[in-house]
């Protein structure tokens, strides 16, 4: 697909307004972009794990989804969609279903990195023809900003609060994208909203959707409420996450790493941290070493990724 902003905009809207996500939420931006990568004539079955996206997009008797949608529980979006995909294979063979269907599961980081990891791993290993999309906002936002294994080091959440002796979450975030790469599936990518036309995201979504076999997308989806920033700053914050190399953009196609975006100038991570209230305590006098630790870990991971991508 040659990215064409006009042609893509002319495609039908598959996720309507009237959903009840927070103002400025990153998740529906990701959903709209990913569904836009579907060929207009193709249909989708979308599964969503319990979480913000699910409880806000499908509230009886309303649904924001123009394609078929299913939610069953928190930890099993992958298994649920795997079942639907298996049904499609057999019903198609029997001539009971016409047309092309694509299968997409969405989960937040809680439903993907944590409680849903087993279900995700199983579905990927079995090779279902589906795309699993994690919209990673770095905490359990639906229940009120509790830490997940995707929460960054020293972030302040309601279950990793910063206090007199602890500076927030004490562990670095799990690198789920690498875990998915280790599954040996044909397509894995990490992406974010770095440009307002969402080119990187839409192109990766298209590759994921039209790859034969399982694919995984990890999309950084800022949460103004949980991260504590002005709702209008969605793209700016996403861009800072990428330009500081906190959230590098890359893809792994059949095991081959490729860096899809290299910042012209790698910014210090502090530029990303200072935009958000969840890191505010790090800027108190005497906490400089905490930011330094974050910088060191970001650098270490970035260097490793550059090597994997053959950029060094």
């Amino acid at each position: 697909m040659a990215y064409n902003i006009k042609e893509l905009a002319a495609r039908p809207e598959r996720f309507t307004g009237g959903h009840r996500m927070c103002a400025g939420c990153g998740a529906p931006v990701a959903v709209r972009a990913i569904l836009r990568a579907l060929k207009p004539e193709d249909r989708a079955v979308v599964g969503v794990a319990t979480g913000c996206l699910e409880v806000s997009s499908c509230i009886y008797p309303y649904t924001a989804w123009k394609d078929s949608f299913i939610h069953s529980a928190f930890e099993n979006a992958a298994a649920t969609i795997a079942g639907a995909e298996a049904a499609y294979r057999v019903l198609k063979k029997k001539g009971k279903v016409q047309g092309e269907f694509k299968f997409i599961a969405f989960g937040g980081d809680g439903g993907t990195y944590d409680i849903g990891l087993q279900s995700l791993s199983g579905a990927m290993e079995r090779g279902h023809n589906m795309v699993y999309v994690c919209y990673d906002n770095g905490a359990y936002m639906n229940t009120g900003i509790q830490r997940s294994s995707a929460t960054p080091l020293y972030a302040d959440t309601t279950t990793s609060p910063q206090g007199k002796v602890l500076p927030g979450k004490m562990q670095w975030r799990k690198d789920l994208t690498e875990i998915m790469v280790a599954h040996g599936i044909p397509y894995v990518a990490q992406t974010a909203f770095i440009t307002p036309n969402l080119k990187d995201l839409i192109e990766k979504a298209e590759k994921a959707l039209y790859t034969d076999g399982p694919a995984f997308l990890n999309v950084l989806a800022p949460c103004p409420r949980g991260w504590r920033y002005e709702t209008s700053k969605l793209i700016e914050i996403s861009k800072l996450a990428v330009d500081t190399c906190f959230w590098p953009l890359y893809e792994v196609v059949n095991g081959q790493y490729r860096l899809t975006y290299k910042p012209k100038e790698k910014l210090p991570v502090v530029e990303f941290l200072k935009t958000q209230g969840r890191f505010r305590h790090l800027f108190k006098k005497g906490n400089e070493h905490l930011i330094e630790q974050i910088q060191q870990e970001v650098d270490r991971r970035w260097e490793r990724l550059l090597e994997l991508c053959g950029e060094k």
Binding site: S68, A82, A87, Y88
Partner: protein
Amino acid sequence: MAIRDRLSGNEAIAYAMRQINPDVVAAFPITPSTEVPQYFSQFVANGEVDTEFIAVESEHSAMSACIGASAAGARTMTATSSQGLALMWEMLYIAASMRLPIVMAVINRALSGPINIHNDHSDSMGARDSGWIQIYCENNQEAYDSLIQAIRIAEHKDVRLPVMVCYDGFITSHAVENIELLEDEVVRNFIGEYNPEYYLLNEQNPISMGPLDLPPYYFEHKRQQAEAMRNAKKVVLEVADEFAKISGRKYGLFETYKLDDAEVAIVVMNSTAGTAKAVVDEYRSKGYKVGLLKPRLFRPFPVEEIVNALKHLKAIAVMDKTDSFNAAGGPLFTEVTSALYGRADGIKVINYIYGLGGRDVKTDDIAKIYDRLLDIVKTGNVGEVYNYIGVRE
């Protein structure tokens, strides 16, 4: 023409599944149900079925995949036992509330802990209020026949609920016994095509399933579910009537054995009911008016019909192969006594917890219970209501 054969319970269930030829089977191995997906995957490997078999990574995912497949419009089946059923727990309720006609063989096994692989009913009894229809089977023949009927019951437009077909682990699942099988085509014609009204893969009418259902609507959806369960009783009988025409075997909501003129009776489910029948014969030959009632349909519980069958009795012993830990009696006992209350008061009813964790149930054990019932009738003295048999006191 019926096919005379000898099969274990698990072989019979797998055989029925081959004949049903479901669209999707998602399953995970667990003793003693493992053989079912094992035999079935051989049918898949041999091309004897069209099924997509999903060898999932857990029972939670087994039921989740079944939900996804069934919602997508596929005829969907699975099998499990014990911890597997327990791990499915959350999804059992969701399958039922989504009104998905999934059919599952539950090969009854004790729940941990401590871990035990042998038979009792603590697994399926724990799931009795999950919204699944539950059918209990005495032997391989009933398991085979009920699994085929379960497809029709589950998919009936007035029901649309998942069904568990339960039979005893090892005792029924692994014992080889005589069985009469139906021909493939007879089964195929009996179950017919599955044509759901709403399904995800309907390209003309996309739907959303599993919404957030807030206070203005949730209760109404639960009321619908309750209605479906009420309708199930009628449908179970209709399907049984039709099944009798193709098989010559007549099923009801429960089976009675020498109950009509009995004064005392045991109420017991699954394989132990068969053992009890032998004791009934022995006692009848000695002139005692003893009988038996074996519930088949436990969910929904056929209250009026069971009361009508029991109301002439003087004393009843209800046997539960699980303990409720309510310090008052097992689940079957609670159902039977609550059914009798206000409808047939005055009957003396006692409860025996038996056979936990595969403790073998001998004819002698059952004879002791009949003796006790006869004694209650003679003396009018009920004594302890909540009892154990077969445990070392």
